[in-house]
Symmetry: C2
Amino acid sequence: MGNAKQLRKSAELALCYPAVGEAPLGEAEAADLAGVLAALADPIRLRLLSIVASHDEVCSCDLEGPLGKSQPTVSHHTRVLAEAGLLTGERRGRWVWWRVEPTRLAAVRKALGA
Amino acid sequence: MGNAKQLRKSAELALCYPAVGEAPLGEAEAADLAGVLAALADPIRLRLLSIVASHDEVCSCDLEGPLGKSQPTVSHHTRVLAEAGLLTGERRGRWVWWRVEPTRLAAVRKALGA
DNA sequence: CAGCAGTATCGATCTACATCAATGTGTTGG
DNA sequence: CCAACACATTGATGTAGATCGATACTGCTG
């Protein structure tokens, strides 16, 4: 019915960081980038992200099984990834459908990149 | 006089992970990759890495000042980065000289790649 | 409206880690 | 051989986060 709602847009998300090799990072940039990396630095979240990336869209209820985690735990991890800007959730009816945000991953790659 | 010693080669470091978008990560691969990302997910370590990357070599004593951290803390962070395979330390006389391991950063970028 | 299903939040617990003072180890110079 | 320096390790402390049971919220459905 088109009543889809975007969920949890996070505060300020830089789309570009200076690459690690270019110049010493400032404290603010380092803290921001560390936040995104911390969201990625969890085995469950990495597997969650790869599951969502492998399909186009995945709903939360289809994640509990493959991940072997409880519903509150899965909800927690999707939230962390969404707040880091790596995932986008859209509510359709009772379900929330998740997609990856490729721009965000590309920004992290570039920040780590030569 | 040529008695340089490599420091803290870490256990098993994969040079290649399946990219996040390709196929769901296995638990072992996810845990391994999460380990490297956890080493990167710290503002101090990111700044440390960018300082080392900006120069060719940096000795530990030149890191305390820019980072504003105590000597044991700097030693702790260099150790974490070295065990993650991101930094290589070489002892020459009293000093330890640190270099980045570009291959390792490239592997992380590739794993995060679309 | 009542009941159910998918999600989110809360509260509690356990574990991991960042930090630094104190101390240990190894190296150079006198 | 000793004193000074660079770095590593240990022990203690505070904080952040992963997990799950219980519970609240939200949109379907009968």
